[in-house]
Symmetry: D4
Subunit: 177 residues, 8 copies
């Protein structure tokens, strides 16, 4: 099984997987964040329940294929992140998806978060794929100064966006006088 | 992988599995019910997260080994029942366990019950292993008149037990006069 | 009380019942799945609260009428599956319906799932009628090789559908290059 | 089926029923309150799931036997109050019981409270059997001045008990001076 | 304070009150049910929080004004039913309203249902005003044969409605042949 | 109705009330905090449901009696804080109590917090009476420099307590070497 | 950091802050209520997560800048109110916002309400910004007779609005006659 | 501020912090796991609410002090993990603690997990400190072959422990024969 890197000439460092094509819209911000961080990644569908052998193969080959982090999104009885985590010792980031078959996301959260001792999943917020991409970058940034720099720049951009809305509110008030 | 039938000389028809030895106390009533129904079964530990390959093997060989129903109990992010269901077309009965790492059982229930379309798990009540055993008997009783008879007798025993407590209450009242 | 088999010349093996005509849209995938599996079934309305005697009659005659499995859907204080289960020893599959009077489905799930010892209901996911039909087929497939074959084919079709979306994603990426 | 009136020579006006003898401890305060109100009642076990025919008979004969109100307690997938309500037009008071098989009482509450249009159950608080007895008395007191008087006296006793604790606190403070 | 009876020349027996005019749409089915049952009632706004003195006056005068049952609907921190119950010994039926300021109805349910010992509220389902009207009729029907007859007729109409949908489904199937 | 000030010769500025003597243990930390802050207070029992007139009188006289803040604790269907808030324009601090009749505190929280527009209750954490006392001090400290100073000192004591545990941990580690 | 007072020539007494411009629509009723009460305030964006230093500075300077109360709104993992409360001893009113990233508001409520001992946040209802503004006025009204008068007038207006809807309902009934 | 490395002569790579000494018992398994993985770490108390400046300093200096991962545990309105994540771009692992002031852990989970876009926290299960330590090792193992080897060995040990319990069960059955 070979996955074509979605982004670029280089070997993907992050694998973004999800249980169903219907999760794609929720999961794409993970890919966009990795593009922002200039981190090569791949994105594909791996279903724990409909393609269990593909899941085993994907998870067990991940490290040797060069992946350093796996982002896995799923909804409802969301087993993909935890099962992938059971099949690799790479860090696995779980994204609970508020899918149409989910009970307002509670099932997605609990079946990803509440892993037993020995098999952690780094869970982010419901539909939090953007943060999953960012967390993957932070993990890679632990040993990579260039990524760490980009993370700092991104943080600054968040702060500046807030400060712009502060200014807008302030000017808006003046206009009212 | 061969499992020694827990009960008897005959080939087991029901496999009772659970994620951890600590679930044994909760799961034993499933075995006791099958003994009551005189249905051969086996009971063993299969962990989705700590022994994923054993789980794949167990589930994929179940039908050819003669099993007709699998009962799987797990707590917390309880992936065992759903993953086994993904690896066999035998009916899988899921028992959500209120284990020590569970949030009052909500995680166990939701991660077993909320399976996506295509992979059902027949979920019973929290800690409902006795009912899992009974449901397995009902499934086998669909085509087996002897088991169906035993199910009727068991039902009668439930009714009689209620009627005995009705009588006790009534006599208790008379004694008070 | 006679129910005209919905599907075909043969005696129905599965009875699909629901508490109200308004549940029909949610419950129809159960019927469609049984048609896919070529299993004769009947479908009708049986209300625990508005037609309790009809419910008693339906449940108590089910086995002698040739039914092997009952699928019962209900929402809110959903008593139909559990009460039918109390009146027959056939396996009863409960479908919690997210009906308009339900609190996001929590009441439907809990009043179907949390049955006391002695009276199991095989509960599937909220609005999971398709899986209820599939679980009925798996129960019948336990002793019927033709159904078991169809279940295998269906499983393959699920896997192939995932693999087609894998391919689409991959081609989509190439197109972007 | 005849129930011996628990209290006295007169025909019982209130029937207290519960699904299991294990609910007796939770349900007894209903009986005690009716005794306080000098209202004849009977108390017995009726299980929706283990004695469904007894339940039908009990509910359908209740009015002609002279009962005016039924109090029904149950836990977990608590179907007794709603099913009895479906089989009589007497007012049925439901007591959700926090039984050992209940998930902190949520299942008990929701499966009693969330009845569909047409079949109400007057639900009281979790384990609120005392209030169930009181509500039965209030219903009977609607047309019975003697009971209405006793209700007023009971209310006064509640107020006086609060005022005594007010005094105790006040004196306690003085002692501290 | 005098309330003009909404329905008819006779003294109202049931008072329907709600915390806000915005609850009117949810509460109207209570009035419609009482009209169906030919029971005189009144309907008005009484806010526990915005008109506490009006609430005290309404509740304390209810019995002497001839009311036999009070139906009180409220949403969010829904104090009206419980406070009215604290100020009269008439039976009070509480209707939890899924109002715009409510968290999916959970706050409305819990703040009406979970009354302390001594002050019961007969709680019906979320937005269950129709059942509140019906429960009021059942309470009055306890001592009124004419109302009891109408309750029987209404029950029959519910059953017949189900049987008509059974027939429609059956004919629908034949048409398909 | 006169309440003896619990603390001291001066007129109480804060009234601490609770629905039942059984809440006393949970509510006492509010009193202790006010003593720490040297703020005169009174403490008594006022039950919304058992002494509604006392509640009206207490709330309506509070401001003229010199109270500036009311702290009200209650559990279950906790109406006391919201009803008092409806009867005064003094700030009312609500303490949800995890009482024995509460469902793990959820009912207490929601029936205090979810007040409608126009009648706020300043809600603190479940069983958070200590913080209620502190919040009352912060409200009084808004215009009182002496109290503001004591609040600063208290804050410092919290920080110092943390730093002491930091030191203990550090020394503990050295001991292990 | 200086904030331009939103309302008027005078020094703001209340600071309204929120984590994001997207919360503005939910938070504006706090400002409107303060305008109604003629209390000078300022309104700006302060993000705990994107501008933590701005938050520290804002909270620590609040008292010396003349603020007496801070209203802080946030959604999801809502840390702003609690962190501001940790950095000042002014009373902090927290408004849980049902933001788009929130799970129906439960996360917003719990992460604002459940503060540890020593650092209270006066929490109001979900999206309850109007009540936050009112509570701020009540706090200021504790020592300010003019504000207390306005609070009384506002209370009267609430009562009168209810009474107008009472009249409308009554006239509506007459028209029907 | 210097923290003495808890484990060893080398610079700590992981910082374990918690809001209160009372969390120590829950958090210690994180330290034990890092010792097992032979990864130098430090452990100390940092309270978001009682020592906010210490928190800012700790988080902002973490990377330059050589830390690569921060593990932060907290309960109730658990702001520590999210605030630390806002003050560094190192990966922050959040451990929701079921502390005595928590509502069964729901508040702890939601206030750590539900972070807004831009500031991820890698959340593990309730009381899942052992998995937090393991996840930190997996993050470090991404670029460190020795740690990756130890992770493999640990995984094997988990599997072997399951297999030993499989054997014990099997032998136990034989003994029964």
């Amino acid at each position: 099984m070979t996955e074509t890197p979605t982004n670029s000439q280089s070997t993907p460092l992050v694998g973004i997987i999800m249980g169903s094509q219907s999760d794609l819209k929720v999961m794409e911000p993970a890919a966009e964040m990795l593009e922002t961080m200039n981190i090569p990644f791949e994105l594909t569908i791996v279903s724990a329940h409909r393609t269990p052998h593909r899941m085993v193969e994907y998870a067990e080959n991940a490290r040797k294929r060069g992946l350093r982090v796996i982002i896995a999104g799923a909804g409802g009885a969301a087993h993909l992140p935890g099962m992938v985590a059971a099949l690799t010792t790479l860090p696995v980031i779980g994204v609970p998806v508020r899918s149409s078959n989910s009970i307002d996301g509670w099932d997605s959260i609990l079946s990803i978060l509440q892993m037993p001792g020995g098999i952690p999943v780094a869970t982010v917020a419901l539909n939090g794929a953007q943060n999953a991409g960012l967390l993957a970058a932070q993990i890679l940034g632990t040993f990579n100064a260039a990524i760490a720099d980009r993370l700092d720049k991104y943080r600054n951009s968040l702060r500046e966006k807030v400060m712009r809305s502060v200014d807008e509110l302030r000017r808006g008030d003046r206009d009212d006088d």
